[in-house]
Subunit: 765 residues, 2 copies
């Protein structure tokens, strides 16, 4: 395989899918926005089947949630990411017939995404109602150098005629409405019509406000090397147009750049409209397509330098892995004000909400390979601490904070609390992610300025929400009632193993860092009002945490009552009745032992030292038998544990079931957006799984074992300012220190010394 081909995603090499799926797969994004790769002639035209649109991270509208019975403390609004008009939209006019009025016939000839440059190349053959055919070629990219820019080059060439072709490139907001979409389990919501305000500036820069959330977006359109296009104003918005004289075989091209920005509501300072306008003007200052592309490509080069995972032995799989990593990169907010939505910025699925999977399934990739991005993602949670504190009080929790289960702006947006707000483990998940980030990066400034505060305030939540038991079964242990674990097929239980174990960890690391900072930064403890008494109390709760265990089966119990219920007859359930939550009432599902996804075994995964392999095997066997994997987050965890149990076939099988989820549309809903957390799981499976990377003492450990089908696996990561490269083959593992000072690390828990001069190369028995 040509090395370059390994980064090309060619339409012809993908299995056939519907139009919406390809729109998602080929979405371009940069963490700030994403643009679906739709038919550029579609716009509002219902004649076509696509779902065009742009999503800006953090830009949402509110829609009122309605409840049959409404209770105090219920989330009152759904935050829904806005589906913004498509900046790729273009109008052609031939023989006086406009393509936005009379549909032209559009045939997709080719698409290719170059994951090295980030350029999407598309070819459409278009036929007018008067049977004139021409070819439209698009080259577009979302800039990774200036996250506010989206750039498109259009080329047209006549196929069967010679003569005039008029192109009209309207500002996207002319005749286009913003949608706040709904999907998933939610009722449909009305679309939002935007107010328009003209900002005085040299350029016709528009501010557009959402109706209820009152966010203001600026989308400016400007030509690049403008080819003398004519500008007319429609509704105060610019519309560029030009009539080309086409001769067959001679392409004519023109380029546009869009500047997209908005004053994020989590910004402490309010930027003036004019400051935003000035910034947009500056961005639109004349640069060429190539110049903008080169700047962006340089950033992507850096990303691959840090983050590429090179697998040999299965080219198709290797490309699928890169596709997943590239999409993670495209999805991740990078401004400290946004995070990674469940569908990235590729579609309206899950309303653009951030969940726990941002920290638990996607963040590890960034923590190890792009720590600066990981830091920004954690800062998002830091910036929403005020909302999390308010929520805790609203829920009657006197101390600490309570992060929302699903949110954009930091407020709870889950309307079914048993599978939403009750998943209080998200508090501990975030704290776990902070701890991992600090341990991997050694970023003590972050710990001191932000991380410690997150850990302490989440830990306090557990002291308020849990309590010391007095009943026989739990006597003198710390218990936590009325929670839902990751498995949403069981809800509102007492002592969910995962939740209690994660809470215990949250408490423990609060104690650990308190004791550490007490000496180095005592003023920080004073500022957060952390006393010795509180540290002792946190410590007692951690030590006394109740962890339910079935002594007969010798397994960790999912919750106090879990193993007493009958087992759902999984084998007798018709395939078309999955996922169960779409076919059975929650009460019916809760009535059985059946797991939507890895729950208790997540603790076997996250806390490998908790159990020996016999315990792990019992837990794995018990829970695997009752898990239906209706969540895309499930199989990766089972796969990693299978690896630890040296069930190489199982590990490989689980991995292969998920790694191509979006490229093969195996869940059937890629059209609504990619499964970003599953993409994060790909990295987890490879690095935590097959490479067996984990933290050990002050360093890391590797326990690699490759599936037989693969020849080698190479990847890099950063550890305390050092970049390390790992190459694993069937026979050996090679560890190289690329930058930084020497360190000791562990291979299968045996210590090795690593220096820049001397790589470690060890045979794998």
């Amino acid at each position: 395989m040509d090395a370059n081909d390994a980064f090309q995603l060619h339409l012809q090499k993908l299995p056939p899918q519907d139009e919406k799926t390809f729109e998602t797969i080929y979405t371009l994004g940069n963490g700030h926005f994403g643009v679906r790769a739709s038919n550029p002639l579609q716009g509002n035209n219902s004649h076509f089947n696509g779902q065009p649109g742009m999503f800006v991270n953090g830009f949402y509208d509110l829609t009122e949630l309605s409840y049959g019975e409404n209770y105090a403390g219920y989330a009152q609004n759904s935050q829904t990411i806005c589906q913004l008009p498509d900046p790729r939209f273009i109008i052609f006019e031939l023989d006086g017939i406009r393509s936005d009025e009379t549909p032209y016939d559009v045939k997709l000839v080719d698409k290719n995404l170059d994951m090295r440059s980030g350029v999407l190349m598309e070819i459409f053959d278009i036929k007018s109602p008067t049977n004139k055919q021409f070819r439209l070629t698009l080259q577009s990219f979302a800039s990774h150098a200036d996250k506010h820019l989206f750039v498109i080059k259009y080329s047209v060439s006549a196929l069967n005629f010679t003569g005039a072709l008029t192109v009209i490139k309207q500002h996207p907001y002319i005749n286009q409405q913003i949608q706040t979409h709904s999907e998933d389990m939610r009722a449909s919501q009305p679309s939002t019509v935007l107010d328009r305000t003209f900002i005085q500036s040299k350029l016709p820069i528009m501010q557009i406000s959402t109706r209820k959330s009152q966010l203001a977006l600026i989308v400016a359109q400007q030509t690049l090397n403008d080819n003398q296009m004519q500008v007319t104003m429609i509704d105060d918005l610019p519309s560029h147009s030009k009539t080309f004289d086409l001769t067959q075989g001679m392409a004519q091209s023109f380029s546009f750049v869009y500047a997209i920005s908005f004053p994020h509501p989590l910004l402490k300072t309010t930027l003036s409209q004019s400051a935003f306008a000035a910034s947009a003007e500056k961005r639109l200052a004349n640069k060429s397509f190539k110049q903008l592309l080169d700047e962006s490509t340089a950033k992507i080069d850096q990303f691959w330098e840090n983050s590429d995972v090179e697998l040999t032995g299965d080219d198709n799989l290797a490309k699928g892995i890169r596709f997943n990593l590239f999409h993670l990169y495209q999805a991740a907010g990078n401004d400290g004000l946004t995070s990674i939505a469940a569908k990235g910025l590729t579609g309206p699925g899950y309303e653009g909400h951030y969940f726990w999977d941002a920290e638990m399934f996607m963040l590890p990739f960034f923590t190890y390979t792009e720590p600066a991005m990981a830091r920004q993602l954690l800062l998002y949670r830091y910036h929403t601490l005020p909302q999390a504190q308010h929520r805790a009080r609203e829920m009657g929790v006197e101390n600490g904070v309570m992060f929302p289960w699903r949110t954009i702006n930091g407020e709870e947006s889950s309307s079914y609390y048993p599978a939403g707000t009750a998943q209080v483990h998200i508090n501990a998940d975030i704290a776990y992610a902070v701890d991992t980030y600090v341990r991997v990066t050694g970023d003590d400034d972050f710990l001191f300025d932000y991380g410690y505060e997150i850990i302490v305030r989440t830990a306090r939540f557990w002291l308020s929400y849990g309590h010391w038991a007095t009943d026989d079964a739990h006597k003198d242990q710390f218990v936590i009632d009325d929670v839902t674990g990751p498995d949403e097929y069981t809800a509102m239980v007492s002592n969910n193993y995962f939740t209690n174990r994660m809470a215990q960890n949250n408490l423990s690391i609060a104690v650990k860092y308190s004791n550490q900072l007490k000496h180095s930064h005592p003023e920080k403890l004073v500022a957060l009002n952390v006393t010795d008494e509180e540290i002792a109390e946190l410590n007692r709760a951690a030590d006394g945490m109740y962890l339910p265990y079935d002594h007969e089966r010798k397994i960790k119990m999912q919750d106090d009552l879990s193993t007493s219920k009958p087992v759902w007859p999984i084998k007798d359930t018709p395939r078309n009745q999955f996922p169960l939550l779409l076919h059975y009432h929650p009460m019916t599902i809760y009535h059985y032992q059946v797991n939507k996804q890895a729950d208790t075994v997540m603790t076997d995964f996250l806390f490998p030292k908790d159990q020996d392999s016999a315990q792990l095997k019992r837990d794995f066997d018990y829970y695997e038998a009752i898990t239906v994997h209706d969540s895309s987050l499930s199989r990766a965890i089972f796969g990693i544990l299978a690896h630890r149990l040296h069930h190489a076939d199982d590990a490989y099988h689980y991995f292969m079931q998920t790694v191509l989820m979006d490229l093969s549309n195996s869940q059937g809903n890629t059209g609504d957006g990619v499964h970003a957390a599953n993409m994060g799981s790909t990295w987890l499976s490879l690095i935590y799984g097959f490479a067996g990377l984990g933290l050990e003492k002050e360093s890391f450990n590797l326990s690699p074992e490759l599936p037989e089908a693969w020849s080698s696996l190479r990847f890099r990561f950063w550890f305390h300012g050092r970049q390390i490269e790992i190459t694993i083959t069937q026979l050996a593992v090679t560890v190289k220190l690329l930058t930084g000072t020497p360190l000791q690390f562990y291979l299968k828990h045996k210590a090795f010394k690593l220096t820049k001069d001397r790589l470690v190369n060890q045979a794998l028995n």
Copy 2:
């Protein structure tokens, strides 16, 4: 006190209340419909503060329920009783000014409800914008002889002028819209506009259809002794009018009768429109006001003959008791197709739904005093068995039926399943009521034709919904997970004591009646497919039913985990934070031991032989301390148990806190309708409580003990075709057999023989 006065409810003798409260208190009804006693000039006019309207039992519209997250099996529609236009509505015209266009000044002078005749007498002094004053006197009643008739006599007399007064009595549906109201925890719903269809007949009889439920109502208006009123048709509806020449002091009067009926959707046969029209015509056949009234009063006389409870020593209380009994009589459906709504037919509260309290709190009054009415109320449940079977299947329950938590038409209408559908105990509640009815009345025909089927099919539900446990804690016992007991401040628990005990009873009586009918009516068992194997299985589950018990505290445990939670700080909670469900998120409330209402102690009440008095006292003390009585159903149960514990003061105190609930508007929401179940509790408290009536062996037992404040208590009931009268004083109890054959009964569990010739008169210690 004049004996007659004891049945007069005079406005002047009631504490001052707002207009809506009095509208509710003075509502006239007959089980088929209820008419609020509103300002008759209000109509649609928002100038006034009332909430006029008529409610027809079983006549509802559907409004779509919307959920933030919608799951399979969720109730899709809310059934909401229609708030129909007020038949009392009248228009006056003086000096060319119509009172429906320009508001007249209306002053309520007096109201009095004669609970013997059922006539409501009201006096209003009315002033026109031109300062002409006249007095309007209304006499109205809902006929108890012909349940479809509402009759009104209007009298007008000039107060400060002589001259012309025009009265216009429009058909209620002219310019008036039907509302489907919402309240309680529900979001507001749009009003329903009705279609009108003219039915060909001699009279202008209109059929009016609801929009979504497609029910058709007929409301015909006709004059009585018509006083030569002029009839004009407006929108095909009759409007009667007449101009009176008033001289001061000389009253002029005119009367109307309304015929209200609809083909009930639970009727197996579909009646034709013309049949309904013919029936309305017949009803409107010329009768005088007095004639109609006499027929109705005769029925009410019979009611008091059977059902009066005569208390001496507290006249105000005695009248309050009668008020409650009269409202129960007004509320109870009597056609086998309807039941008793939580607010009777007095207001839009709880959307006009029937709940478990119909069977558990109201039915006993009818079972003992008006068994024919009790039979009709139970038939309603029988007629909704198909819906209950459908619901069971929808919820994944393979056998038996699952009655809805809240409903009008037999389908589930609860939109918050943890405090709705999860209250599966309603199945066992209905079975308990059937059993009680059969044991009290000896109505074997009912048992054979209907009751046995209800009992068997509800019992089967438990076999499917519960299961035999294998875990250590419950080994080899029958357990029931994922239920909510009567206490809605705890939800979705395992082994709720009340639910399990009631289920056990349901199973036991299914076995009892199966064994009984196996000999007398084997064909019935064949028809219901009841085999010996199934009887054995029902019996095993009853015997093996797990009943959670706290061996340390020696109390019945509300559920598997209840006593492990911290106790809600009731004393530290500000008074304005009650009821808790309006001020705290459900998750917050569930997090504590706090009872909305009697739950576990309901079993101490319903199954007196389950425990000795020491056990009763421990249960009572424990649960009383954690109960906040946020439900109006709570205090009566604690009061009855206090009586059993010989805590006379407590029993009296609890009783007095609830008996005048609506007359004193102590809950603050009587304006939305009376608390019908609380009215039922009044009878329970008096008869099950202070008189200590209960079933014993094949007969009944009395354990009377009057509060010191009372001189005597007299009441009657029917037992196996015999009418019995009980008179209790501080010193003695007298038991008389009024009709029927001799029987043995028990007084403080000691047997006595009762014949018509020889009453039993026993001193009380």
